[in-house]
């Protein structure tokens, strides 16, 4: 018989736990849910946009009543639980309904705090917590003129803005001297107040409410200083308190909240608690992102998997008031051990404050331009050392050599602004998907809209839209698992491969308890690369864990045909080679011959079966694969250098050929391009390559981490060298370090930004021993792979099945 799981509280945190549980253990429990409200589960955080008339209740439903039926969950909607009997293991509701449990999940959330001043129970005094409150406010907006919100925090301001949108005259009464003092410093708080005043809100600061006046229904407020204010509605938004009465009555240990351990278990092992009702390591939370983290861990333990710990959350907030961009996270006040970076531009309404401690970002307040919020938050959560970023930190990620996307304020973008250029997805499509489908993560948005699912360059924008739409609900990802097949990150997997000498992808999956039998397209290719880069002598290549281009050694085109691009060493060619290419093109009726950006010639529109024949012809003329299809070293682009050019300082072409002979056929985390320019005029564009050399009179400048693609990034200057031999050694060492350290599918540009330039400089330039070590490993690996894959297939008959039809059936 199935165990019985009962949940008290039909809110976001609890239901997220149930959803997570259904995902990993769908048949483990008979599930019963009690909820006070007569609805399914809705996105409480989006009540503000509902109040402001920007969304409807239907828009914000997460689980409809039908959903509960479909998932065989018994829902007691509108029934308040009044008792938990821990000995009999039952819960009893107001109407006498009794349910037994084997496990109990308490997700009772919190209640708004009502200041116990005289008159607080009059008609027209409400809080802002649920659909009922929104209905009262909307109703009041039709009948009355003047509303007052007590509390100038996040929720209070959103409520005030909402009622103002419906034509009410709204006054915000605040005890402190700045708004949102839990999230903002004084400067930002003042800027916010000015903007809101411009929008039409009135404020009474440093005002202490003494009494709510009126005869039956509220008509005014009296303050401690003797002044008063006329009003028809009072919304109290001064804070929330965890709902612990039920748990307390049942004898569970509570302080401010229900005390839980790192697995969200209360002092009764059969009883768990998640959400705003919880107190964990002394903290209570009122934002959704931490609640979701709790949900994941709790579900895992309910499913008897027993892995995953909740270790507390760093939270960030955004104010959901249209037209105001505001972001705050972490410790933004600082102390004597911290330093601050501040940028303030009163005319354009911009303010940024970053708080640093020991070269780590620990807090941020952004006003007016919050597009960097997600990035700062990421830096905080990952505790990244920012020494390398110091001079640019305040200006944001988009100033780290990225002149590509970004720049616009999400809030000001119109719905038809195209966000994802690959798949033609507009801002409005994404916002709609987030609200109607109830999406919370980047992966979910990708799955539903395809936005940022192709080249990924708009990922930052999509994350900003998520954050903008959901406000504080958006969870910035931490150290991510490699894919859905495992909980391990790329680093953990690579370490295991090294430490435990795992040489096949099956070994890796077995050793690390992969959740799927044979992996997914994401992890298979990464693992196949990781085992080979760690154990180039012993590891087995798994062709079925390579993308088709690397299996067929040609690039698949949109119609299923392929392209053929032979190598031209250092961009040099000969009449013989050109003749061979021309002959092949004519012989196989190839119509399109194209010059590539890397100084190669491409033949397009080749049927797969023909590939080995073309390769055989090209081999005969001495040409080999250009690896223009692989996550591999692609090309070395050169200029003619001092051989011909009157400005040339070194023989850039010859050096390019040497570099290509050194590095060809090497597999990489992603494609890898090199260039050598003969002088600082840089005609070979070496400063947007993964590895570039700019020749100067005294020798060679080495440049790394450039990219001319999705995000243009100019290289960082690694060092100056005097001889070609040194250039080759440093190049090999740099490549090998990249190969062994970067995540699969991570180009050098984002890799350099992730790990920091100084680590690369330390490894390749400053530490001779390490450089020699990596160079030696590179040469060893190259000895094994430098075999022309075209010749193996065209002449030696390798992997025949790849190119032949198994059967032709005549109709």
């Amino acid at each position: 018989m199935k165990e019985k799981l009962v949940m008290i509280g039909n809110g976001m945190a609890g239901m997220r736990t149930i959803e997570e549980l259904l995902k990993i253990a769908p048949d483990m429990y008979d599930i019963t849910v009690f909820g006070d409200e007569p609805y399914g589960n809705y996105n409480r955080i989006l009540l503000s946009p509902v109040l402001a008339g920007e969304k409807t209740i239907d828009d914000i439903m997460l689980n409809t009543l039908e959903w509960y039926e479909e998932n065989n969950i018994k829902l007691h909607a509108g029934k308040k639980v009044t008792e938990i009997n821990r000995i009999a293991r039952t819960v009893t509701a107001e109407d006498g309904t009794v349910e037994e449990y084997d496990r109990l999940l308490i997700a009772t959330g919190s209640t708004p705090f009502i200041i116990p001043v005289p008159g607080h129970d009059k008609e027209g005094v409400i809080s802002f917590r649920d659909i009922k409150d929104v209905d009262i406010m909307l109703d009041a907006a039709k009948k009355y003129k003047h509303a007052t919100v007590i509390g100038g925090g996040l929720l209070g301001l959103e409520a005030a803005n909402g009622m103002m949108q419906h034509g009410m005259k709204v006054t915000v009464v605040h005890l402190g001297d700045t708004l949102m003092e839990r999230q903002l410093d004084k400067v930002a708080g003042k800027m916010l107040k000015n903007s809101l005043e411009e929008k039409g809100l009135d404020f009474r600061m440093e005002a202490q409410t003494a009494e709510i006046t009126g005869n039956g229904r509220v008509t005014g407020i009296k303050f401690a200083d003797g002044s008063s204010l006329d009003t028809d509605l009072v919304v109290m938004a001064v804070g929330i308190r965890p709902n612990i009465e039920l748990a307390q009555k049942a004898g569970l240990h509570c302080e401010r909240g229900i005390v839980v351990n790192n697995t969200l278990q209360t002092y009764d092992p059969r009883i768990y608690s998640v959400g705003e009702s919880v107190q964990h390591r002394g903290n209570t939370y009122g934002l959704v992102a931490p609640l979701f983290e709790m949900a994941k861990v709790c579900a895992n333990h309910l499913a008897h998997m027993g892995i995953g710990l909740y270790e507390g959350s760093v939270t960030s907030t955004k104010l959901k008031v249209t037209g105001i961009d505001l972001f705050s996270a972490g410790d933004f006040t600082g102390n004597e051990d911290t330093e601050e970076m501040i940028m303030q531009d009163a005319t354009s309404g911009l303010y940024k404050k970053l708080v640093l401690q020991n070269n780590k970002l620990i807090g941020a307040v952004l006003y007016g331009d919050t597009k960097e919020g997600a990035w700062y938050f990421q830096l905080m959560r990952t505790c990244q050392d920012i020494s390398d970023l110091r001079d640019k930190l305040l200006f944001g990620e988009s100033h780290l050599g990225d002149s590509g996307h970004g720049g616009d304020h999400i809030g000001q973008m119109s719905d038809d602004t195209e966000i994802c250029g690959c798949n033609g997805v507009c801002k409005g499509d994404i916002v709609k998907a987030i609200t109607t489908e109830g999406l919370f993560t980047l992966d979910e948005v990708r799955a539903h809209t395809k936005a940022s699912a192709s080249c990924g360059s708009c990922t930052g924008l999509v994350e900003q839209i998520l954050e903008f739409t959901l406000g504080s609900d958006y969870e910035t990802p931490e150290a991510k698992p490699m894919c859905k097949c495992t909980d391990h990150s790329h680093e953990e997997v690579r370490e295991a491969i090294r430490e435990r000498k795992l040489t096949t992808i099956n070994d890796v999956r077995r050793a690390l308890n992969w959740k799927t039998e044979d992996g997914c397209p994401a992890c298979r290719m990464a693992l196949n690369y990781y085992v080979q880069s760690a154990w180039h002598n012993e590891a087995q290549d798994d062709p079925q864990s390579r993308f088709i281009n690397e299996r067929a050694h040609a690039n698949i085109q949109k119609d299923g045909r392929y392209s053929v691009i032979p190598r031209m060493w250092g961009g040099m060619t000969t009449p013989d080679e050109l003749r061979a290419i021309a002959n092949v093109a004519e012989k196989y009726e190839i119509k399109d011959v194209h010059l590539t950006g890397g100084q190669r010639i491409g033949l397009y529109g080749v049927e797969k079966e023909v590939l080995p024949k073309i390769w055989a012809d090209l081999n005969e003329a001495g040409m080999v694969s250009g690896h223009a299809y692989g996550k591999a070293m692609r090309t070395v682009k050169t200029c003619v250098g001092k051989q011909w050019c009157r400005f040339g300082t070194q023989d850039s072409t010859a050096l390019g050929i040497k570099l290509e002979e050194l590095t060809w056929a090497s597999w990489m985390p992603h494609k890898f391009k090199l260039a050598v320019s003969g002088c600082p005029r840089n005609c070979a564009e070496a400063t947007i390559k993964d590895f570039g050399v700019v020749c100067v009179d005294s020798g060679y400048e080495l440049h790394i981490g450039g990219n001319g693609g999705i995000k243009v990034r100019a290289t960082d200057l690694l060092c100056n060298l005097a001889t070609e031999e040194e250039v080759l050694e440093y190049c090999g060492a740099f490549i090998q370090f990249y190969r062994e350290d970067a995540h699969y599918l991570e180009r050098t540009a984002p890799w350099v930004e992730r790990i920091g330039f100084s680590r690369i400089e330390d490894t390749v330039v400053k530490d001779e021993e390490k450089r020699k070590h990596y160079y030696k490993r590179f040469l060893e690996a190259q000895k094994i792979v430098q075999v022309d894959p075209w010749k193996e297939r065209a002449v030696d008959g390798k992997a025949k099945h790849e190119f032949e039809t198994i059967k032709v059936v005549q109709a």
């Binding site: 397209p521 079925q544 099945h801 198994i806 059936v809």
Partner: protein, 102 residues
């Protein structure tokens, strides 16, 4: 009416791989999963007609090489939020010989 046609040996198809059967009208991709089950579906992704035979085979699914749609080998239907379907043919293995029902 069934029309079983022998297409080749199971060992001719790599595990987690596929081979193509050509007919006069279209190509059929014959897949072999990690557990040696065989499936046959029309070699066209419902999205932009990408050759599914060239995709990555995982579990009883194949991911299209062109735009990463994932198609069920059992039903021919696109999985996840994507929608679309390609034709499915019965396939079987007898004594190591693979046949499909055209």
């Amino acid at each position: 009416m069934s029309n079983w046609v022998e297409v080749g040996q199971l060992d001719d198809i790599p595990k987690q791989g596929s081979r193509v059967v050509k007919t006069s009208d279209y190509n059929i991709a014959v897949f072999r999963t990690v557990n040696d089950e065989v499936f046959a579906i029309k070699d066209e992704c419902p999205h932009k007609q990408g050759p599914l035979s060239q995709g990555i085979v995982h579990d009883r699914k194949v991911t299209c090489p062109l735009h990463n749609w994932t198609i069920s080998l059992e039903s021919g239907e696109a999985l996840g939020p994507d929608e679309g379907c390609t034709n499915v043919f019965m396939a079987k293995v007898d004594n190591g010989v693979v046949s499909i029902d055209l």
